[in-house]
Assembly symmetry: C2
Homo-oligomer: 141 residues x 2
């Protein structure tokens, strides 16, 4: 929770109530949240919160690398807090609960091979896995 305020201050942004609220919501959620959901959860903590501010704050946090915008199958974007380092998401398609993980080495190999073959120079990547968490698998299998 301190992490967010520090990052803001360090980058010269003010630490405000709405920004603290959005940070709180995101750092507690273990599911990618749409802007709308962040807005609703945020209003519980601070009734005056505006949707516009949520969008702005999400964009700000994303630019600071505090959260990442992930692709969600139906809606479009979900926002997820990122712990430092490059991480990927494993998302349960039933309950939406997600786990982050580092997937460095494995991709490095793939990327190196690909760069050689295509002539591209890879800078970034988006890796998201979808499946069922142990809870949601329930009786199947």
């Amino acid at each position: 929770m301190e992490r967010w305020e520090e990052a803001l201050a360090q980058a010269g942004y003010r630490v405000t109530v709405p920004r603290r609220v959005v940070a709180a919501v995101l750092s507690e959620a273990d599911t990618p949240c749409s802007a709308q959901v962040v807005f609703e959860l945020g209003k519980i903590r601070y009734a005056g919160l505006g949707l516009v501010t949520v969008y702005r704050t999400l964009a700000l946090y994303e630019s600071l690398g505090l959260i990442s915008r992930v692709h969600v199958h139906d809606g479009c974007h979900g926002y997820l807090a990122t712990t430092p380092g490059h991480r990927h998401a494993l998302i349960c398609t039933r309950c939406g609960r997600s786990v982050e993980f580092l997937g460095q080495g494995d991709l490095d190999l793939l990327i190196a091979r690909l760069e050689k073959r295509t002539g591209y120079r890879v800078q970034e990547h988006l890796l998201q896995l979808f499946g069922l968490c142990s809870g949601c698998r329930g009786t199947d299998e």
Copy 2:
């Protein structure tokens, strides 16, 4: 180009002018196209084309596995023709040109390890790489 018509017929769908136009646009594009772009490029070939039909056709082709909806950084969705088999995209961040590739084995290892650790059962994944193609690297490096 035949591939599209066959797939439609085989699944019991009619082969129509708009569907042929969308297929033509997508099979020629080597860049993920938004619905809007498909619409505009499509109208060049067939002025009567409607945007609604483009959306419907894209959804149809996606359900047939002929294209995949990829995550594009700014807009949201881009559509890209998929050659049979499971493929991923490597997209140039400057010119948008993209290359498809198979990334099976590498991920399998990662996925297996992850399943053991998290208890999740992985069903699907989304992998997109972003970088610069040889043309766009130009003078840098």
